[in-house]
Structure formats: C-alpha cells, structure tokens
Amino acid sequence: MVDDADRVELEALTEFLYVVPVGLLTFAMNGAIRLANPLISQLLMPFVPGCDLTDAYSALAPLMPDLSRRVHEFADWLGVVVDHERCPISQGGKLTVFSVTVHRIHGGLNTAVIEDVTRSAEQERRLFEDRQRFRAIFDNVRDYAIYTADAGGRIDEWNPSLQRFGGWQEADVVGQSLSVFFPPESGSGPSMETLLDTARKTGSVETEGWGRRRDGSQAWTNTVLTVLPDADGQVRGFVGVSRDMTERKRTEDELRRLATTDPLTGAFNRRHGQDCLDAAFPRLGNSGRTPAVIMLDIDHFKSINDRFGHDTGDLALCAAVDTVTAELGDGGAVVRWGGEELLVIVQDTTPEAALELSERLRLAIAAARVAGPDGEVRMTVSIGVALDLGQGAEDAVRRADTALYEAKSGGRNRVVFGPARRVTDRKAG
C-alpha cells in the first residue's frame, strides 16, 4: 500500500527521470532491458526503426555492434565495461555522435549511459583539424621559425622549423628562455624581457637584430612575438615568428655602402657627407654640442700625378683616407669632398681638441709612405678647421675652406683655424 507521501515522492522521482538529459537504461546479461528513461527512446528510436526496446544489444547495435561480446567478456562482478566511448552514426547525410558508457553494477545487471555528444565532438574535430593545420604550418614553413613559449617566455615545444632555422634540436630549446635565440650579449636591441613586457601590454612586438644559431653563428633576424590569450584574456604564452634576414641584411648593407661611399677610397661620398653634415649640425639654436669640420687638401697633388702617374696619385689619395680613418677611429666621419679634398666631420669638440686632432692628422699623413714606381712617395696636407658658430654646416664649411686657402697661401703643410684666426703657422721638418 502506497501512501500519499510516497506517491508524491514517486511522482517527483519519475519526473526527474523523465527530464534528465542523458539516456539511462539497465539490462540483464541476456540483454533484456529492465528500465529505460525517455531520453533512451528519444536518442535511439531514429536509429533502430521497429525496435521495441526489449533487448539492449539490438537497440544499441547501430552504436556498438559488439556490445554483447564485450559485456560477456567482462568477468568482474562490478566495474566499467565501456568508458565514454565515441560512437558516430551517419543517417541521411547527418552525423550523430553518441557517447556510450556501460557499467556492471552487480553480477547480473548492467547500466548504460547514452549521451548525444555531436556538438562537442564537432568542436573537438574542429580543434583537432586546427591543430593539424597549425602543425602542418609549423613543420613545413621554409624561411621562418614558428614557436611558442609559456607566459614566462620559456619555449614549451619544439618543431622542425626551429631545426631549419638555426639547427636547434628539441633538447636545446624546450624549457629554455626565448633569449636562447637572442642572447643578451649580442647587444642588438632591447632585451627579451623588455620585448615580452611590450608584447604583454600591446598584444605583439616586432624586433630586428642579431640572433644566435645553435652553432654560435649569428643570424640577422626579424621576429614578431604575439600574445596568446587564455579564455579569460590573460597572457597564456607567446607565439614567435622569426625570419632569417642575414642575406637580405648583407645585401642591404652592401647597397648602402655602394650608395654612400666613394668607390676609389672607401670614404663617404659627397652626397652622404652632406647628410652627415645635416645630422651633425643643428638646424636651430644650440644643441649643447659643438660640431666641427676639418678640411684637408693634399699639397701639390697635380705634381704627384704628373711625376708618378695617376695610379700613384690614386694610391696617395687612398693612403690619405686610410691614415685619417685610422687616426679618427670612431671620432668622426671621413668624406671625399672633392678631387683631392677630404672633409672630416666631428660631432662634438672644443677649439683645442679640434686643433690637436688636425695637427695629428697633418703629421700622420706627412709620415705616411706611398709605394710609387720608383720608390716611396711622400705627401703633405694643408688643413682648414672651423667650429660651429650656430650658423649651420654651410657656414662652417665655408670658413674651413677659407682657412684651408689661407693654409695653402701661407706655405702649405699647416693647420689654419677659421675664420681668420691663425692658430698655427708651423712648417713640418
């Protein structure tokens, strides 16, 4: 006798089993279905037309034809017979994927849980395909390395593009900081930490500089680092794309050299010298620096050409440039300003230092030896010096030119400080 309270509870239980969104059924070893909830009917009837849901093995046959064998081969008293197995069924061009789990709940009774997982299976399939697609890209790009790093910038996976890029093997890179490719000692550009910080803030960062190959050689590398966000928008890691630009860099450098230098002497040509002047001399007001120009002209150059031939003249010119370049070091730019006229541009100096440098250049050229056809040839230079007076480069060059003219007319092989102030009037021995 079922009392009212029991009846209400049973109704609630029945309703619960009616609406539970997975298919549930129990069946005996011979397949006889004991209980099944409505979802079983909803899920299975379209695939087992005419089925009466008395036998679990025939009802589930479209999903799992060997269920009977698997249930009977499962010898334990209780346990998992089938664990969330994916069962795809195609019908009328439409794919449905079921997840099937079968438990032995005691010696003679089994339960099955059936779920329609078509949508999540489709998502998983898309994810898998995406992964395959990216894998194909990672593995097959020729001119790029593509790699990923965790949020701290540690490389988390190796792929063949790294091997082609820099000869890197899995053991060299996995777990290492990205700076393994861009060691701080290469000194080109910002540190990896700075780059990652920028990427964290802006989403991505691009940099170009010297990178390292596995064998220690350097590669001029263009790199784009992009943030990989997680589902909450936090930085989960980075994807890096690096391109070896060494050949292009070499070509560019060579083109730049050809465009900016004089082919005979290797000094900057006059056009690039003009750019150097513009860069060194401030257009307006006082920059806090005092640039200077030193104009050198080889004395009696025509006579060298006439006496020893043009080849020797060329050698003398080259020797003058080499000598000046060696004396200057990083202290200035050497420009072939005219035929046998050189212009040295100094970024920041004082009258004393400019004078001292000019003297050094004069003496060094006087000491240089040029191999002529009949023995060594020697030469001297006249020099005009001018410091910036806030009137720009053109004015300084004009005053240096005036000073040079003075040095020539004053007997050559000497330094004259422009505009009119004679600073030295020494004859070399």
Binding site: V19, L35, A36, S41, L43, M45
Partner: protein, 141 residues
C-alpha cells in the same frame, strides 16, 4: 469555449465510435467534445500549434500515470514526453504542412519500455494538433 464544445457535442452524438485508423479522425477530433476525447479507448493528446498540451485524455493519463492537470499547459515534446522530442515525432509536427502518419514507437512510461502505435495528425487549417497512442504487444504488435 466550454459552451461551444457542448454545442458541437450535440451535433455529433455518433462520433465516439471512430477507430484508431479511421480516415475521418482529424475532422472528428476537431469537432469532438472534451468528454468525447476523454472517453476514447486510445490515448489522445491535443496540442496547440506551438506544442502546448490543451487536452490529455483519460486513457493516456492512465497509461502514463500522469495527472492531466500536471500536463495541460506544458510543452508536450520538451516537458511531458521527452522521448518524442526527435526527428521521428516532434520534427514531423514542427515541419509544418499536412501530417497524417502512423508509426510504431516505444514509450518509456515509468521507465518501462512500452511499445505503442502513434498516429500523428496535423492540419494547418485545424486549431489543434493531435497525437494518438495505442498500446501494441511487444512482438508482432
């Protein structure tokens, strides 16, 4: 509404004799009184065109052991009989057009698989859709 049903009842005193497969079923159901529907020897579920149950007769309530008061006003496919919420049944009703199909099916009333014959009736011109339910024996029914 109720008085209209009474009126129709008077006009069709012979209608209760219709069998499950009768070709005139749609017209009879549209015209039948609440009492006639309740008295039918097979299960009758009448739904509004949106699937909400408007009548759930005595035979069906007894078989499903569901109280009609808990069923009327609910969405049949989603809330009352989720076992019908698939392409075979709900899908056909939702497809629109004229529908009169009889299929073998299995209900899981109180979790016991119960073989049934279903007649699916829908006419865009009618005010209600109908699902008729008749028990059949498990094998060869």
């Amino acid at each position: 509404m109720h008085s209209t049903v009474q009126l129709l009842d008077d006009h069709h005193p012979e209608a209760a004799a219709l069998g499950f497969d009768d070709t005139a079923m749609q017209d009879w159901l549209e015209a039948a009184s609440a009492q006639q529907i309740d008295d039918a020897p097979f299960g009758i579920v009448a739904m509004a065109p949106d699937g909400i149950v408007v009548a759930y007769n005595k035979a069906e309530a007894a078989a499903a052991r569901l109280n009609p008061s808990r069923v009327v006003g609910q969405h049949f496919f989603r809330s009352v009989a989720p076992c019908t919420n698939n392409a075979l049944i709900a899908g056909r009703f939702e497809a629109g057009g004229v529908l009169d199909a009889t299929i073998d099916y299995v209900f899981t009333l109180r979790m016991l698989p119960t073989p049934v014959r279903l007649r699916l009736l829908r006419d865009p011109a009618a005010r209600r859709m109908y699902l008729l339910v008749e028990r059949r024996t498990a094998h060869g029914g």
